[in-house]
């Protein structure tokens, strides 16, 4: 199965990003494909490399970067939502890229299932 993923919430406040990450990991382990992970609304805050959680907590941003590197995941951050929230190219964590909402629609077209994580 080819999945598309939409993450609509920021890290830590909300479990959406954690759940999306766990879903991606499980799907990949099960031999499925992740066509793209798209970050929208406060979800764009998952992409900043300025994030520094306490040592005894999970590092949500680095975790996405690592998963992207291991599986060549396409992590796309919506440009309009990102600029509104001060997320720019110069602070992106590895594996993330900024692009337009068209990439979300294309994910809906190309993926066999689009799974939305958020409120």
């Amino acid at each position: 199965m080819k999945f598309g993923i939409l993450v609509n919430e920021g890290p830590y406040t909300h479990q959406a990003s954690d759940s999306a990450y766990q879903f991606c990991k499980a799907a990949l382990a099960g031999g499925h494909q992740i066509y793209r992970v798209f970050f929208y609304h406060d979800g764009v805050d998952n992409a900043t490399r300025l994030t520094e959680p306490p040592n005894d907590d999970r590092h949500i941003v680095n975790r996405w970067s690592k998963l992207a590197q291991e599986h060549s995941l396409d992590l796309v951050v919506c440009v309009a939502a990102a600029l509104r929230r001060g997320i720019k190219d110069e602070i992106l964590a590895p594996g993330f890229r900024i692009s337009g909402l068209g990439q979300l629609i294309e994910t809906g077209i190309q993926a066999e299932r689009l799974v939305v994580f958020g409120d």
Binding site: L6, H41, G100, G102, L104, I105, G108, V116
Partner: protein
């Protein structure tokens, strides 16, 4: 177009009040972009999402952009299928006459059936 050349059915499900959170505004931004992709697009409004279409938003006092005129412009983007859930309207003392654009009022059960027919559901 999909890789099979077919048009997919996209439904945007709006469940949040227009102000208070940014979901409604940013959902509308997705719909406007999506219109360029020649897919089969519809919008559903339920729960507090029905307030997005309630006539007469006045946002000056909260210093936010009144984006209600954008709903009236959807027709220009060939987005004409707007479904509003009857139960959500009734619970809030609203009717179709309170809506700022022409809508189809559908029961919760029928909206469920419509959702079942979709290829892609965006929930905001």
């Amino acid at each position: 177009m999909s890789e099979h050349g077919a048009v997919k059915k996209f439904m945007y499900v709006n469940r949040k009040a227009p102000y208070g959170t940014i979901y409604a505004l940013e959902s509308l931004e997705v719909v406007l972009i999506a219109a360029a992709f020649d897919q089969d697009v519809s919008l559903a409004f339920l729960d507090d999402g029905v307030y997005q279409l309630k006539k007469g938003h006045q946002t000056k006092g909260i210093e936010m952009k009144n984006f209600q005129p954008t709903y009236r412009a959807l027709e220009d983007y060939d987005v004409t299928k707007l479904y509003v859930e009857q139960e959500s309207l009734r619970m809030r003392g609203l009717t179709a006459d309170d809506m700022c654009v022409p809508v189809d009022v559908v029961s919760r059960a029928d909206l469920g059936k419509l959702m079942e027919q979709q290829d892609v559901l965006f929930s905001f």
